[in-house]
Amino acid sequence: MSATAVHSLWTTAAEVEPIGSIPAPHIEYAQLAPVLIVVGAALVGILVEAFVPRRARYHTQLFLTVVALAAAFAAVVGLAAGGYATTKAQIAAMGAIAVDGPALFLQGTILLASVVAVFTFAERRLDPAGDGGRVDSFAAMAAAVPGSDQEKAAVKAGFTTTEVFPISLFAVAGMLVFPAANDLLTLFIALEVFSLPLYLLCALARRKRLLSQEAAVKYFLLGAFSSAFMLFGIALLYGYAGSVSYARIAEVVDGSVRTIDPALADTMGNDALLLVGGALLLMGLLFKVGAVPFHMWTPDVYQGAPTPVTGFMAAATKIAAFGALLRLLYVVLPGLAWDWRPVMWGVAVVTMLGGAIVAITQTDVKRLLAYSSIAHAGFILAGVIAMRPEGISSVLFYLLAYSFVTIGAFAVVTLVRDAGGEATHLSKWAGLGRRSPLVAAVFAVFLLAFAGIPLTSGFTGKFAVFKAAAEGGAGALVVVGVISSAIAAFFYIRVIVLMFFSEPKPEGPTVAVPSPLTMTTIGVGVAVTLVLGVAPQYFLDLAGQAGVFVR
């Protein structure tokens, strides 16, 4: 189509339809309720910061956040019970959001993980109390320079950053939309909506603020860099297909499109647009997932961020990003599977092996868990490339199992403390099992689940994922996966040996007694780990029923 023709098309269209007759979009509010509840509560949370007196803010915010997350979860369950996960799965909000099984399952998982993560955000018994009362693990005044008089005054007054609750609600809202996004614009906006709050949360640690700020800068610059690549990928895919809707792009990719105008015929023939665009888009998602060529931010950010935030980020971001990755590969680009499968194969292999091997050399618990999360991203990728319904449901189950183990493990890390805050160096964990057998035993359960020992959720998840991959014709990948699981098991077991079979050091760290909040988080983590390990069938069936994308 020539440029003048396009121009006259727009101007005549504007003349024919007066402004008043623009049709209003049809929005299915009930089906978007989980997201709307969380966004609404986040907005109310900001008003609470503005109008509620400082001493009442913490309780108000905590109540509001937990109620909102629980209400959103109830909405998800209601939608699933109403059949939206199976027979009534549909695309809502004028094609922007998919309401289907994987979306609802992942939204439910994100909400449950967020509730237990918010409990660790609210923990106030670990740090010594200031004059103004007990404090949590977030900066007294984030804007104050570390070590300045202003900061000392804020600490002395017992200020706390209660803004973390609305900020985390915004992040959760973005994460809820991300795996449900059904066009590329919604995908990009959801990515930014959950990334920007996470960058801020990373910078808010009460102790070790220089590390925390450094982590935030690294996460921000690399995250913005990767989202720019993703946006360019979106631009190229839009150029290729002439639309950002997933269904339309899928039709153009596999050639089943019916109406072809001259401009589309022109760009459809250009495979470079499709291949480069798809690759850049995948790159943005693999960055968020923490797969190996794009994993460089993970260890530094996980180590520097406040530990409750690390747990939240490690679990919820991974769920949301894998959800979006699954939908992209299974709904938008299945016509391109011959091109992306070998690439994802390679990424999965280097991610599994890279994460497991580098983790062996780590001496910091949080960095160790960061590399272990990279290795787990590789295991999940093995399920993603199966290209079968079992692939989807095994990934859904793995994400459910993994998120609770991760949040629980990071919650245990917050408890082991010395005078400088959390004692994350591994040498300080020596002999922990002698001094605090319960905490060490709980951590050992989480490590065994990470390692994939039978009777824990990690084993069930890994078995499901590898089974799907093997049935999908990726047998060699399963072999690599089992080998890297064995390598990973080595360093998990090494930590257990260190905790139980070495002498405690005289000036070692102490284990703080937490409030019921963190106890709940850890208890739920252990319970989910064992239930999903011993009696997983109900949840496997649930994931199996949820494993069909709507197109």
Binding site: L196, Y199, Q213, A215, F220, F229, F232
Partner: protein, 99 residues
Amino acid sequence: MNPVNYLYLAALLFTIGATGVLIRRNAIVVFMCIELMLNACNLALVAFSRMHGNLDGQIIAFFTMVVAAAEVVVGLAIIVSLFRSRHSASVDDASLMKL
């Protein structure tokens, strides 16, 4: 003028931005290079919108501008807080966690 030329320009600007992110050392300049990449994306979106004769690309460009503005708010807050505590905005100096 053929809209394809704008795509070449967008690709060029994007590459300049990406190169800048990789070789510059000041966090602010790195951040400006990222903004350049986002604007290159906008140019590509608008050019494709013109080629296809629909408005999706232009609408995305507006969204990108809003996202870029929000990113500036968050990014400058983080970079300024880093600068105030270290008196340096160099990304090489931020290496406390290097092994």
